[in-house]
Amino acid sequence: MTLALRLVDLAKTFPVGKRLFGKPKGKVRAVHPVTLDVERGETLGIVGESGCGKSTLARMLVGLLEPTQGHVEIEGAALDTADPALFGKRIQYVFQDPISSLNPRKTIRQIMEAPLRRLHGMKATERQARIREIFDSVNLREEFLDRYPHEFSGGQAQRIGIARALAAQASILVLDEPVSALDVSVQAQVLNLLADLKGEYGLTYLFISHDLAVVEAVCDRIAVLYFGAVVELGRAEDVFRAPLHPYTRLLAESAPVVGRPLTAPEAKETELPDPLNPPSGCAFRTRCPRATERCAAEVPTLETAKSNHQKAACFHPLSD
């Protein structure tokens, strides 16, 4: 297996309370150094709750955000984020809100032509043929091309967003909550389409979502993000069934499942830590029933706890 994508110590820190001159008042570490490998043809799921840094991570991957530290390698070569015409050909992004990712004042044809013209310098006839081919594979009718975005439903607009990403002919797609704005019946259509396209074009997916069940259904491996750091990484079928990290277990137990009685898996008063004033050591320790003094003193790494195919950043993993 060859590597499609490699993240090396990728991290992002945002200044808080900027001033015109001098240093900002504080810093928030949105993403702690993350190192991850994604194999070609794989779907890697990234799950986490709001504010855990999933979107920041995704935007760094596609060059929309400059990392504070570390770099991204695509098929062995470092990603140069300076020229959009270069990185757009290698990695593409599908947005969460399908309607707002389409310019309301452009027709679908204009939107579809932009990547073909700017990234690949195609001629008009070539573009025409390519758009027809792509629209065919995402099950959209060609007559849609001369309409404006507001005329489409969420599911159709998301297909257009996927079609645009395909037009760039990148081999890696970052899917940032691609179905969470859609109704459940449409959500399944889009997920199945993504699975078909992956086979057809040999794509590699980074699938970002807060919906554990969706991630489990479509991914090969899953990385669980908490407070800007990967706390657990493992095969999709294992991560939620047999979690190592207490946070992963909390997530899995919180998801409403038919046939499981309603219980609050953690104390009702618990609150998330304050990003401006993070706890020392493990960020989860204030919510963790297994926390000890060591958790406050040291920061666990993803190599701290390991079983066969699973890794977790925890001193007291659940396998003990």
Partner: protein, 628 residues
């Protein structure tokens, strides 16, 4: 464009402004070809002729020049200068604003502080200073007026651009390989143009006035050339004895500026999407009721009972049947789940109960809703208001949108209590603290004085629940209260609601699209599709043995945790638009079991096995029946 003109024409005053302005512009355009006397030829023997004199329709000025001719030539000049100044100010201002807004950060800071400095001077002083530096003359006055107005455009456009530059389609364009310059021109600018047009249409009149002001002071057009301001200026000395010399240009200025302002307001209203959607027309205090038949008697017992409720939206000639004969009931201590996709009518059903659907365009056209035997549909506003939030309260999806951002959460809770109960502030505050404790907010003593933005989403939703509980209601209608929350927070909120229901005997109507939530919280469930209930029964019956194909398929669409990696079932197609509902079953076009009779006529909600479904060919309980 046609739609824009139609909207503009609906505003009578704007239409008047358009007609008057059209006439003035037309006159100014054809002036060179009109049989007028030369405007600058003096004839002192005929000075100060009154209006309607022979050979001088509007009279003459102090040098005997024909006022009509001077007026038309002057209007031509004033309009040209005003429009040119507006165009220059708009172009430069918009360019500055777009660049500052798009790049943000330091560029924005430096540029906008410069603009602020320009704005810090009183504008007439600044204009005078510019003219003083450049020397008097119409062209210099034009530059001065344009320069003075640049900050207005720059600030306006910058604000809009900041919003657009962070939209996802700009990121998408960047990923499509567009450079910054191209993004500004092809992505940002088209979305800013309406704002530029609005800003221009409301400021042209102002700029004509400013140019006239400078000319009046002798700094604009130089004699003998006439513009409206210089005409006024020259007439000033004869103001008392020969009033017509100042009245003539004065009236013209009045006409022009009034016409432009009326037109500008109309253009703004027609272009502004918020105003277009009718945001300015205030909705009525309670939904309009227009029932053409006698409301039916309730067929079920409950603290809240809806019978054949119908709510429609009347937009233009189209009628959207959002709620189409819904009957529901909920008993004390019971939780009813209302399941449906977006557009299925579940939220409108909930809002109709207390007359909270915005009217216009919403109208309740039939059915009844009874709270403990009291009819709510068509009840007096006073009675509805007394019940709202006291006996029947709501929890909405987005607590950030329902809490007032400028008041402390405690004050909002106290207000909710005191509206319905004559208690003192101190007692109400005690009660508010108790409520915050009830919804398990840590540290209620300090949180009571927090503003909504200082709390996390989960904490805000707890405040929303506390607000709904403030007056110990009998019924809570919760519209997707946990959809916007994270799973761990959702689990906490659901268990808080579940506890409260048990402790207080609350009846809850819980609207959601999540079967897992229904399974965990609700006793009974109803599934809605295209404005109707298609299946109703106990949670166990619906989840384990769905009879309507829609319910069965919808459940298969939802991935469930622990089921492993697989291909999901999908329902092909989209729900029908509720203004063009098909004959018969609304789900027929997407249904794998569809038969010709499904499209033939009205299908009723009937008993199928142990519960009710609106289907002629329900899903069989194959496994169980085979086993028996």
């Amino acid at each position: 464009m046609r739609r824009f003109l139609a909207l503009l024409a609906r505003n009578r005053l704007a239409l008047l402004g358009l007609v008057v302005m059209g006439l003035v512009v037309l006159l100014a355009l054809v002036t060179p070809w009109l049989p007028l006397k030369p405007p600058n030829v003096t004839n002192t023997s005929d000075k100060f002729l009154p209006p309607f004199s022979e050979g001088a329709l509007l009279g003459t000025d102090h040098l005997g020049r024909d006022l009509l001719s001077r007026l038309l030539w002057g209007t031509r000049l004033s309009l040209a200068v005003g429009f040119a100044a507006a165009a220059i100010a708009a172009t430069l201002g918009a360019a500055i604003g777009v660049v500052a807004g798009y790049y943000g950060g330091r560029v924005d800071n430096v540029v906008m502080r410069g603009v602020d400095m320009l704005m810090a001077f009183p504008y007439i002083l600044l204009a005078l200073a510019i003219v003083a530096a450049l020397g008097p003359g119409l062209f210099n006055a034009l530059i001065a007026v344009a320069a003075v107005n640049i900050p207005f455009f720059a600030r306006n456009i910058r604000g809009v651009t900041v919003g657009i530059a962070h939209k996802e389609f700009v990121d998408a364009a960047r990923l499509s390989g567009l450079s910054d310059a191209r993004i500004i021109v092809s992505e940002v600018l088209p979305n800013v143009v309406p704002v530029i047009v609005i800003a221009m249409s409301t400021t042209v009149g102002w700029m004509i006035l400013e140019t006239a002001g400078l000319s009046f002071l002798g700094l604009g057009s130089q004699p003998p050339q006439a513009d409206l301001g210089s005409m006024l200026g020259e007439a000033r000395s004869a103001h008392i004895t020969q009033p017509h010399t100042s009245v003539v240009p004065g009236v013209m200025i009045l006409i022009i500026v009034m016409a432009i302002n009326l037109l500008g307001d109309g253009v703004r209203d027609a272009l502004d999407p918020r105003l277009r959607s009718g945001a300015l027309s205030r909705p009525m205090a309670a939904t309009q009721v227009a029932r053409d038949h006698v409301p039916p008697e309730p067929r079920a017992e409950g603290v809240l009972t809806l019978t054949d409720l119908e709510t429609q939206f009347h937009v233009g000639k189209r009628t959207f049947r959002a709620v189409n004969g819904v009957s529901l009931h909920v008993a004390p201590g019971e939780c009813l789940g209302l399941i449906g996709e977006s557009g299925s009518g579940k939220s409108v059903t909930a809002l109709s109960v207390m007359g909270l659907v915005a009217s216009p365009p919403g109208v309740i056209t039939g059915g009844s809703a009874q709270y403990k035997g009291q009819e709510l549909i068509g009840a007096r506003y006073g009675k509805l208001r007394q019940l709202r939030g006291d006996r029947v309260s709501y929890i909405f999806q987005d607590p950030l949108a329902t809490l007032h951002p400028l008041y402390k959460v405690g004050d909002q809770l106290i207000e909710a209590i005191r509206v319905h109960h004559p208690v003192g502030r101190r007692a109400a505050r005690e009660r508010a603290l108790g409520l915050l404790r009830d919804v398990r907010i840590p540290n209620p003593e300090s949180r009571i004085d927090a503003y909504p933005h200082e709390m996390s989403g989960g904490m805000r939703q707890r405040v929303g629940i506390a607000m709904a509980l403030a007056n110990d209601p009998d019924v809570i209608i919760a519209d997707e209260p946990t959809t916007a929350l994270d799973v761990t927070v959702q689990a906490q909120i659901l268990s808080v609601l579940s506890d409260l229901r048990r402790e207080r005997g609350l009846a809850i109507v819980f609207i959601t699209h999540d079967f897992g939530v229904v399974a965990q919280l609700c006793d009974r469930a109803a599934v809605m599709y295209a404005g109707r209930i298609v299946e109703q029964g106990t949670t166990e019956q619906i989840l384990n043995h769905p009879r309507h194909p829609y319910t069965a398929l919808l459940m298969k669409c939802v991935p469930e945790l622990g089921a492993g990696r697989r291909r999901l079932e999908a329902i092909p197609g989209l729900p029908p638009a509720v203004d063009r509902l098909p004959e018969g079953c609304a789900f027929a076009d997407r249904c794998p079991k569809v038969q010709p009779d499904c499209r033939a006529g009205e299908i009723v909600l009937r008993q199928v096995g142990d519960h009710a479904a609106r289907c002629l060919h329900p899903v069989e309980r194959a496994r169980e029946e085979a086993a028996q």
